[in-house]
Symmetry: C4
Subunit: 203 residues, 4 copies
């Protein structure tokens, strides 16, 4: 487990840091251009929050797994595949909001949703697999945690589909809503941990 944990953390840390590439300018920027760049900032924040939430959850989940079976490793690799893709829709969305027309923006949100699904589906599978194999977990309370997490993964899937539907009305509103949902997940998870004494002992 130690090496799987370290490897996943390294991948997530790199994804988080590569998001800044989207912000690097081609040349000198006027104050006006810097302000006009706001869609890029919004996309950056949304992607940063998403990867941050993935990291926090991954952190929690992995600390509850006692043993990395091949299935756990494969599902974890699938989950990382989705995470490493994150800079791609971030880049597409910021480009589409700045220079693209409506169909480009909807397509960019669509790619974002696909990437969110590529992260959520293997995670949901991992949760369900662990619920069925509780001997792989460190304690019986972990099953409850995995059930909660499976529910969150389900909601993330629904949010991804909803964000595509909303994108047809307004791509920007869709992105803002997604950022708000992710930020709420972050707050909920942090609160949950505070009130849950088991969570505290796991750190």
């Amino acid at each position: 487990m130690g090496r799987l944990e370290a490897f996943s953390d390294a991948v997530l840390a790199i994804v988080l840091t590569l998001l800044v590439l989207e912000l690097l300018p081609d040349g000198a920027q006027t104050p006006h251009e810097l302000l006009a760049n706001w869609p890029t900032y919004l996309a950056f924040i949304t992607a940063f929050l998403t990867v941050g939430v993935v990291w926090l959850n991954h952190n929690q989940a992995v600390s509850r797994i006692r043993h990395a079976t091949p299935i756990v490793q494969a599902l974890n690799l699938a989950l990382l595949l989705g995470a490493t893709l994150m800079p791609w829709p971030t880049s597409l969305i910021s480009a589409a909001l700045e220079d693209g027309d409506r169909p480009d923006q909807i397509a960019a949100i669509f790619v974002f949703a696909i990437v969110a699904i590529l992260i959520s589906v293997p995670w949901l599978a991992l949760d369900l697999y662990l619920i069925r194999h509780p001997t792989l977990l460190t304690s019986s309370e972990d099953v409850t945690w995995m059930r909660n997490h499976a529910r969150i993964s389900m909601w993330t899937l629904i949010a991804a589909v909803a964000s595509v539907a909303l994108a047809f009305a307004s791509p920007l509103a869709s992105l803002v809503l997604y950022a708000v949902v992710v930020a709420s997940f972050l707050v909920i998870r942090l609160r949950e941990e505070t009130t849950d004494p088991t969570g505290l002992e796991d750190d």
Copy 2:
């Protein structure tokens, strides 16, 4: 060994994450352009699977080595040289399938095969070296593992040569075949581990 392991993991994690650079667009993309980009997606998946398999195997191999002699370090560095090159043929293949003509595509597949060989040859050398120096391994069962792995490395070499030959008929078929072979390796290795109780105890 600990530091060699952590360093190798870091390198492989970065390679895995840098593959996304190939996907980053220069500007807004129309839905049509996104779909027309499929060769890039195929090249990305193939490269991701390849690095993923290298990581899983490296993980397994390194956990069986008790002691990092200079030869082990040098062969490991040579293996990482090949792995860090992976984004290069990935980029060449996707560019050649999108904008290039037939000779460009064959050349790109050729570079891919060379990089696969640059990974396989030092690995094969490492396997053979460890088989001859079993005192460097943690247990006698590891010799069997190394022999199996040496056989897989041999097959990877043969697959690399075959993929170049096939590229003259169809570069795309060659890439697809390579992706299928790598995905099969992944499945076989994961299955093998499941049925091998020793593998379970190593985690």
Copy 3:
């Protein structure tokens, strides 16, 4: 704490290493062009020192925290958000000093100050939170350390605001002053550690 520490270190190591991207040329450079590039070198050194100081301080701060509560994790993530942004103002400043006019340069320094504030504010919050919750720290001497660090964070905030004010007179002088302030922080911190036996025992 171990995983939070490793993750933060990985993020800071990647930020430090990505700063070099700003230096990579588009093609062959004449000796004259290399010399004319000095604003890029100055921006690189300033950013490298800044991230280096953040790493040293983070190193020290984290070794004094016994327990990562959700608040600690969230503030640490906020701090990393600022740190991952660092290549952005570095790139803006070097581009503005080379090709931009006065307003572009002031804007670039302004972005640099905002990023410095984005790092300092969560750090100040983290210091104050830990001072109020001394049970999260490893020893009572750590409260003194956190108080000192809070004071430094306050000065960094003031320096950031001052650098923007100075940028209206001379963007270049502002950048040089900032580099000197960061270098002084580095020297002060290193001296402080030398005379503080507690600091030595923490390594």
Copy 4:
């Protein structure tokens, strides 16, 4: 020490992996273009070997230091500054050999030598500092190791100056010579370790 070691390893791993960016093409490459790119391949190999040797030496040096004083941390950070710069001269050299004229090539080799000096000087200072403070080392044999390493650092400095002198006659010969010198260092170090039983026990 543990965190300094992990941080340095992460930085060196990222530098090693970022070198591939130089190889990524702008579009489809004809077989002829791929072959004409050889200066890039030569620069890549030279830089990879250099960073590899830095890693192996760093690995050895750090395992002999018992205690990271602020001076050790500062010199290590200075050494990493040089290492993170490595992709810059690599990029300059390959661009100059492909598109530049003679002065561009000499300037690129000059930058390479400066970066080599930026790595060697803090390293030499670190060696000399540790020789004067043997209590920071784990055993008395480490002083001998540090003296040997100081001698190698001196030779690296001389090689850097010589490579610039040679560059006036032939930039390409200078690069080839440098690659050969670094490869020899690698072989010597690996042999040395093999015959030195102390080196074996440090792993």
